[in-house]
């Protein structure tokens, strides 16, 4: 059974009161990048996952985890 990357980006972002655009600004990426990662449309690279985790002040494994 193929493994799938799930994420809790939306949860962590809203906890901090950030919009997608505000998080995009913090990370230095487009709003589309945040949207596609949040919705599971796109699996981010390790670099982007680490940048997102750093911007949210969380360890990367609290935001991204393997499913299945």
């Amino acid at each position: 059974m193929p493994e799938r990357l799930s994420n809790r980006l939306l949860e962590h972002r809203t906890e901090r009161g950030l919009t997608q655009a505000a998080l995009a600004e913090l990370v230095g990426v487009s709003r589309k990048t945040i949207n596609t990662v949040e919705n599971g449309v796109f699996v981010p690279s390790t670099v982007l996952a680490l940048k997102l985790a750093r911007a949210l002040g969380e360890p990367v494994e609290r935001i991204f985890s393997l499913e299945g």
């Binding site: 600004e25 990426v29 981010p44």
Partner: protein, 147 residues
């Protein structure tokens, strides 16, 4: 630190690109239709030369739009934001699908040539229309899905 206006500008241009790409594909494919319905054997008339030059120019522009981040006259930072990870992944997928469609088209034309000999120019037109058209539609569809 990225200023807000760059992100907003990139967002707006990304949406425009997602709407524009399939439209450009339809125009490009329609242009091939005009070529085949008004075919001429020689290209001595200026109007035919202009038509061919237009087709070649449009093909090159569309190929560049597909393979680069596009919007070449916009600030570098905005273009970098538009050429983000999902866009690069979508572009790679679109080029893969475009390449496959071209190969399938080439195989089809190979068999067709046994029954109806094809001119080199016709064949090139068809293969370019398939490859560029399919890649543009695929890229546009993936980009719209990502918005």
């Amino acid at each position: 630190m990225v200023i807000q206006s760059d992100i907003e500008a990139a967002d707006r241009l990304t949406q425009r690109r997602a709407r524009m790409l399939p439209t450009m594909a339809v125009i490009f494919i329609a242009q091939q239709g005009i070529y085949f319905t008004t075919k001429t054997e020689d290209l001595t008339r200026p109007v035919d030369q202009l038509r061919i030059a237009g087709w070649l120019l449009m093909s090159i522009v569309l190929l560049l739009a597909l393979t680069t981040d596009g919007f070449w006259f916009k600030p570098k930072r905005v273009r970098e934001l538009m050429d983000d990870e999902p866009t690069r992944a979508n572009r790679a997928d679109a080029l893969r699908v475009g390449f496959l469609a071209t190969m399938v088209g080439a195989i089809g034309l190979f068999f067709l040539s046994f029954f109806d000999p094809l001119e080199a120019r016709e064949t090139i037109h068809l293969l370019m229309a398939i490859g560029i058209g399919v890649a543009l539609i695929r890229f546009g569809w993936l980009e719209r899905r990502a918005l």
